[in-house]
């Protein structure tokens, strides 16, 4: 089979085999690993359109969702994906502060492992917790967000959503807008998008740009107008209100004036698609009408998230063929 005619987002290596034991970050995944997950997710996306959207291939698997940080959509998305695939699911939610006072994370995870679990989905405020768990237990680890480090399933669902509205990720022009410094979503997206050949510009206040981020293969801009004129996809990130209290920008009003996507932008630049990982601060990152417009694919991002998580669970369960 000639690879020249292959779609650029398809797995390139003819003898490719998915061999990843965990999904801790896209930093560990090769371009073909990422392409493969996206291809598998396309299948699960079709399953979700069926009258009975279930595929009980994980009936013999037990999965624990360890959420040490508040999360609504990611936790629900994982849990739903697990249930659609017939896995036995247990949920453990706790605020980090209460855990700090009580049992150590190592003791918690080793206790849970003793109950014979196959996979751990973890969300935690500290970067590196998925790596820490990998050292503690044998189960497959899926990172559902570790501090401002990585959130790989979010980036995968973002890329999947881009594939739905644009010809390919290779060559795609993506601008990511907002609080770059504190975002795990942006790190995974930078890694994934650049691995698949997209061009990425980060746009936001200088105070929320981490040092040396331009060395991650991206360009930095502080001019939203120029970015929107250039891009195929504009991804706005949630502004955490405590960042303003921390003095990183003067006011939400000024933020919206300079970095919020408004209807006038959609009119001036008719080609770009609006994305947002949610939850949206309406009137801050996005004017409310922008969020609801047909240029925004925010809700299909959510549906795609389910497909991505089903694909990831499936691949990491040890199953190889559908």
């Amino acid at each position: 089979m000639s690879t020249e005619n292959l779609h650029p987002d398809r797995v390139a290596a003819p003898d490719y085999r998915f061999g990843q034991p965990h999904l801790i970050g896209l930093a560990d995944y090769s371009p073909d690993d990422i392409r493969y997950v996206l291809q598998q997710a396309a299948y699960f996306r079709e399953v979700l359109e069926r009258p009975v959207p279930k595929l009980p291939t994980l009936r013999d698997k037990t999965i624990v969702n360890l959420f040490y940080e508040n999360s609504t959509r990611t936790r629900i998305s994982f849990e739903l994906a697990q249930k659609r695939m017939g896995a036995d699911v247990v949920n453990f939610s706790s605020s980090s502060s209460s855990v700090k006072k009580g049992e150590s994370l190592k003791d918690t995870i080793r206790n849970i492992e003793s109950m014979k679990i196959d996979m751990v989905v973890v969300r935690h405020e500290s970067p590196g917790v998925p790596h820490f768990l990998k050292r503690c237990v044998d189960a497959a680890i899926i990172n559902a967000g570790d501090g401002a480090h990585e959130h790989p399933t979010q980036a995968l669902l973002d890329m999947f959503s881009m594939q739905q509205v644009k010809p390919a990720i290779k060559g795609l022009k993506v601008v990511i807008i907002g609080d770059i410094q504190h975002s795990r979503v942006v790190r995974s997206n930078i890694i994934g998008l650049t691995k698949l050949g997209a061009e990425v510009i980060l746009c936001g206040p200088r105070t929320m740009m981490p040092m040396f981020v331009h060395e991650m293969g991206v360009t930095v801009s502080h001019n939203l107008e120029e970015c929107l004129a250039w891009c195929d996809v504009a991804m706005a990130l949630r502004i955490q209100l405590e960042r303003q209290e921390g003095g990183l920008f003067p006011s939400l009003r000024e933020y919206h004036e300079r970095f919020g996507i408004r209807m006038e932008h959609l009119e001036r630049y008719p080609d770009f698609t609006v994305m947002h990982p949610g939850p949206i601060n309406r009137g801050v990152e996005l004017e409310s009408d922008v969020a609801d417009s047909d240029r925004a694919v925010i809700l299909s991002q959510v549906t795609n998230g389910l497909a991505i998580r089903m694909a990831v669970l499936y691949l990491l369960s040890g199953r190889r063929e559908l």
Partner: protein, 435 residues
């Protein structure tokens, strides 16, 4: 066990002034705990313990002027006894211990407690008293009284002396007592909530960064205050290139500033946090910085800008350190591995000569702390370190003498070993390496 009479044979005598000609002098006799004579092929006498150095170096005893012994109050991490055992195994005959204990070393009775607890140990322990009462950074501790009790310097280490007015007052008061003020240089507003050096790696890992500027701003302030007051400021555990440059400039101007560097800061970089996948044994304050900073530390040692090598030996128990990265306390062990890192980064690279290195370990810390510098001449108290630059040994949990084991060098095979120390009439061989 007291061994007042010892004969070292087949040893190369070395100190900051040079290495003695091995064909002229290769043995050193200790009688009643004092150096009796040095010479060529001295013969053993009755009742002497004979120690064959097999060509190893014998120098005046080394001193680590920045360790945390955790006693009183934090004995689950380290005790004076276990910390001194680690010091002895690392070749150190003296340490100066930082006051962030519970209670803090902020009154004469705590100073004396430490002096008394360590009086019979082969490793001398010199307490560093607090600058401020309860180490709170508000008002001066009883410095003169602590000096009477045996304190050798003042510091609120663990935390900076943050208030510039308090730092000025401390430098003035300590200058009156002819004592140095050692400051942990960190602008907390710039550094918090940092968990590693702010740079490329922190950006990739999404960890909040501690920027170099947080250290440099405080060094700049303290140099200016030292210039104003005529006090002696000692910059603790320097770690940034710009910091070294500022100390170099200040010394050239005649300002009374000295500094020290830890082996990990001239060996490891922030890349280790990523490579080790968030191993908390790479988390300390100041953080591991960049290869450029490492180079600046070595250059600063080589040209004498950095006076002393210290370890900032900071024991933390396994349960404290084996946690999520952002919850882990700062600090790593250092006493037992310092020499091997010196060999690797300074001697084997040819960046420094052995006498230059010995100055940073023997003369510099004691000069800064106004302590007598031990020598190799007859009549002096025998205070000695036996070491080589070639023995390969593995730093295992068994070899480790500390109560804690938070070291990034654990289970690594290292080159160059402290073979034993002699001090206070006691010979302490480093059994783990000798066997």
């Amino acid at each position: 066990m007291l061994q007042p009479n010892v004969l070292f044979i087949n040893v190369q005598l070395a100190d900051a002034s040079g290495v003695r000609d091995y064909n002229t002098v290769n043995s050193l006799r200790i009688r009643d705990g004092k150096i009796a004579e040095t010479g060529l092929n001295l013969s053993p006498e009755n009742g002497e313990q004979l120690i064959d150095g097999k060509g190893a170096f014998l120098s005046p005893g080394w001193m680590d002027m920045h360790v945390h012994l955790r006693e009183p109050g934090l004995e689950h991490k380290e005790t004076i006894k276990s910390g001194c055992a680690a010091a002895a195994a690392g070749g150190f005959t003296a340490v100066a211990c930082m006051p962030n204990t519970k209670p803090a070393i902020h009154t004469r009775d705590v100073v004396e407690y430490i002096v008394n607890r360590s009086a019979s140990l082969p490793v001398e322990v010199h307490p560093i008293g607090c600058v401020s009462k309860d180490r709170k950074g508000e008002s001066l501790a009883e410095m003169a009284d602590m000096k009477e009790g045996g304190a050798v310097a003042f510091s609120d280490d663990g935390d900076p002396v943050y208030n510039a007015r308090l730092m000025r007052t401390a430098l003035e008061y300590a200058a009156m007592l002819d004592m140095p003020v050692i400051n942990h240089e960190e602008d907390l507003d710039l550094s918090r909530p940092g968990h590693m050096h702010e740079g490329r790696v922190s950006t990739r890992l999404g960890l909040a960064g501690t920027p170099s500027i947080a250290e440099e701003v405080m060094i700049a302030r303290d140099i200016l205050l030292a210039e104003l007051t005529g006090g002696h400021v000692h910059v603790a555990h320097i770690s940034t290139r710009r910091g070294v440059e500022m100390v170099r400039e200040a010394k050239a101007k005649g300002i009374r500033v000295t500094t020290e560097v830890c082996p990990h800061h001239f060996d490891l970089t922030d890349e280790e946090v990523e490579r080790s996948e968030f191993d908390t044994n790479f988390k300390m304050h100041p953080p591991l910085r960049t290869a450029d900073d490492v180079e600046a530390m070595i250059a600063g040692l080589a040209d004498g800008t950095i006076d002393a090598i210290c370890t900032d030996h900071a024991p933390h128990s396994v349960e404290e350190k084996e946690v999520e990265f952002i919850y882990a306390p700062n600090g790593i062990l250092g006493l037992q591995t310092a020499w091997s890192v010196v060999v690797k980064q300074l001697l084997d690279t040819g960046r420094m000569s052995l006498p230059q290195v010995l100055r940073t370990l023997i003369d510099a810390p004691r000069t800064i702390l106004r302590l007598p510098v031990p020598g190799l001449d007859a009549g002096q108290p025998a205070n000695l370190t036996l070491f080589d630059t070639s023995t390969k040994w593995t730093y295992t949990a068994v070899v480790n003498k500390s109560k804690s084991r938070n070291s990034p060098y654990l289970n690594q095979t290292l080159k160059g070993a402290a073979l034993g120390i002699y001090n206070r009439s006691q010979w302490v061989p480093n059994e783990a390496v000798l066997s």
